[in-house]
Symmetry: C2
């Protein structure tokens, strides 16, 4: 709990649940007749709705991107370091939207929400959702707010994939696209890690084929294992070395199976906490969205040709020790954009924190981010001056 809400915080924020009754055709072939999204917004939408920024979340993220829900909150939203008055994404200038994606477990339509057709939780019957589906649902969210064109769509990791897909699916609806710590598609190794996590969850006896809500149980062990494994891939080898090294919890080896090295107890703690907070069916859906993401799959053309239709300006950012989505993967995106004759800036940030770095206020990262946000602001101002004002 902050003693006082910091001055550069968006402060106490209130999520809102927005209902959509127009059926949504999904990539998997199924249709969601109606759905709802949990959303938070920060800052104010200007008169010509030209200052809106959409933040897309990663695997375990949600709509609570910045600020506090109450003074009792221990932590602010997941990207509070980047969003607030005077911060990189300045809420005195921009209207920022965060949402929980479809299939999520923080209030948007998803496995842990009631299926209006049955009155019971969707559970494993919630359809498989793709990045394309998310973009479509987010476009309708933009419609809801009367936003014709975003000043920027921004995301890290799986969020960056959504931003990239936005630029392809709705070329006219975003002026800037920021793709941070992402990849144009998953590698076999990425998919392999996801598959181990899925097996851990789905083979947990308390998973009950996804119908654990009715049993009043939770596949805690499976979720814990998935998170422990995920955590290793979010950190770098170097980062773990400097954070934990081979430090022993009690100073000496005990020759048993209690956690002995600091890294063991850290991972167990992270895993156990996550297993009480996150929904297993959602975890499965999110990993599938990652596996399936490949903007070239539908058209069967190289990424540069698929990106040809994009009209946004791009900022791509990677982190040196990120081995989940390494700088090489970001450069694939940059190369495709260059080949497609798009405006693209690229920064590779020196950072020891691995994939997690995208959430950390590293000075050079903030500098780059701030500088690019100035461009977005300038473009937004020029939009407004061209308008009716």
């Amino acid at each position: 709990m902050p003693a006082v809400i910091p001055e550069d915080s968006v402060g106490i924020v209130q999520p809102q649940k927005i209902e959509f009754n127009k059926p949504l055709q999904l990539s998997c072939g199924r249709v969601l007749e109606s759905y709802h999204l949990m959303v938070e917004t920060y800052g104010e939408l200007n008169a010509d709705a030209s200052n809106a920024i959409l933040i897309c979340h990663a695997l375990s993220g949600n709509h609570h991107v910045a600020g506090y829900h109450s003074l009792d909150d221990k932590k602010p939203g997941w990207w509070d370091s980047a969003i607030g008055p005077g911060k990189a994404i300045d809420t005195t200038k921009f209207f920022v939207i965060g949402l929980n994606n479809l299939g999520g477990c923080h209030g948007s339509s998803g496995p842990n929400q009631l299926n209006p057709e049955t009155g019971k939780p969707y559970g494993p019957d919630f359809p498989i959702i793709t990045v394309d589906d998310w973009v479509e649902s987010q476009a309708r969210l933009a419609d809801h707010f009367g936003i014709e064109q975003f000043a920027a769509v921004i995301g890290g990791s799986l969020g960056g994939m959504q931003a990239l897909q936005w630029s392809i699916n709705y070329p006219d609806r975003l002026r800037h696209c920021m793709v941070i710590a992402a990849a144009p598609k998953l590698s076999a190794q990425n998919i392999a890690f996801n598959e181990v996590a899925r097996q851990a969850i789905s083979k947990d006896p308390q998973f009950h084929d996804g119908h654990y809500y009715a049993q009043n149980e939770v596949p805690k062990v499976g979720l814990m294992l998935a998170r422990m494994l995920g955590h290793i891939t979010y950190l770098s080898d170097d980062g773990m070395r400097s954070k934990f090294g081979r430090e022993l919890r009690s100073g000496q080896i005990s020759y048993d199976f209690t956690p002995q090295f600091e890294v063991e107890s850290y991972l167990r703690y992270q895993g156990e906490r996550f297993s009480t907070e996150f929904d297993a069916n959602t975890y499965l859906l999110m990993t599938k969205a990652l596996d399936y993401f490949d903007p070239t799959a539908l058209e069967g053309k190289p990424l540069s040709e698929v990106l040809a239709k994009a009209k946004a300006k791009f900022m791509v950012i990677s982190f040196t020790t990120d081995w989940r989505f390494s700088p090489e993967r970001s450069r694939e995106i940059v190369d495709a954009l260059v080949d497609a004759d798009k405006q693209v800036s690229y920064a590779e940030i020196e950072a020891a924190q691995g994939h997690d770095a995208f959430l950390i206020p590293i000075p050079r990262y903030l500098d780059v981010f701030n500088a690019y946000m100035q461009r977005i602001e300038a473009d937004t101002d020029s939009m407004t001056s061209k308008g009716a004002f």
Copy 2:
């Protein structure tokens, strides 16, 4: 099954069980009053016992290093590619010993063997074993064969750690030490992966706190997960990309949780097969031996000072895409040996196969291996000519 046993194979081999009745003091403080080791040997020990080579196995290895147990065997021993008449480790010249380490599950004293004191399987009561303990038990095995000094102690991965420890604990008992794809100690990331595997096994409801033998059950899911995860760390990102890419099993996405990408079904198959073949308690012990390995821990001195007492000549080999024990880790060993003024050769082999490369007959690897074996042979010949013959 080979139609015909190849000419360069050691042929049909017979394991032997060797009993030891002298109590073994273990690092953990406990004592094994008696124990047995499963052993295979290939080639013939010469009259002055100067041509013996000890092969130390890695996490899931055993005594069956080369040859076939019967004509029905689908595969030969785990390092058959390197051992046989005319192969790198030439059994017409050397007497080669392979063993299943203490705590193993292939016939040596370990969790799945009967505890002579209770008449029941040791299960989780089998003591935690360290690399030091293995070296001690292997020294007694050398005594058993009348081998005062090995021509070489050779191992890859965890086997390489045993070879390194041999050079420290018994400086006079080996002339050459080959440390392949190893590290001077595990990193926090290495330990973290091991801990996820341990949690997967020990939290499997069929683990029964390690007493699953009595329940006639096996923690198959836990072992499967451990192996799937291990497998990812044995392969390289590049290797997986070229082996599996994003190939779909049925040619198209099915939008469900069946294995869709080739890499998913490959991992599931590997994991499931392993879970029927390997013992869960042994897996836990092996990962602990890895975690605890640190030749500097006891003396609290830098590795170079600990290695000062070594008298062997060293060959260290690493593989470019090995990220489990990367070339950097091998170079730590080389640097320590150089600082300690030891004779050391080092080769970094270009290989796409990651950690697994140490088991694969890659041409340059074989060339380097062969060349070094010639040195070992020359040293062995000069020993024999100095002797009573």
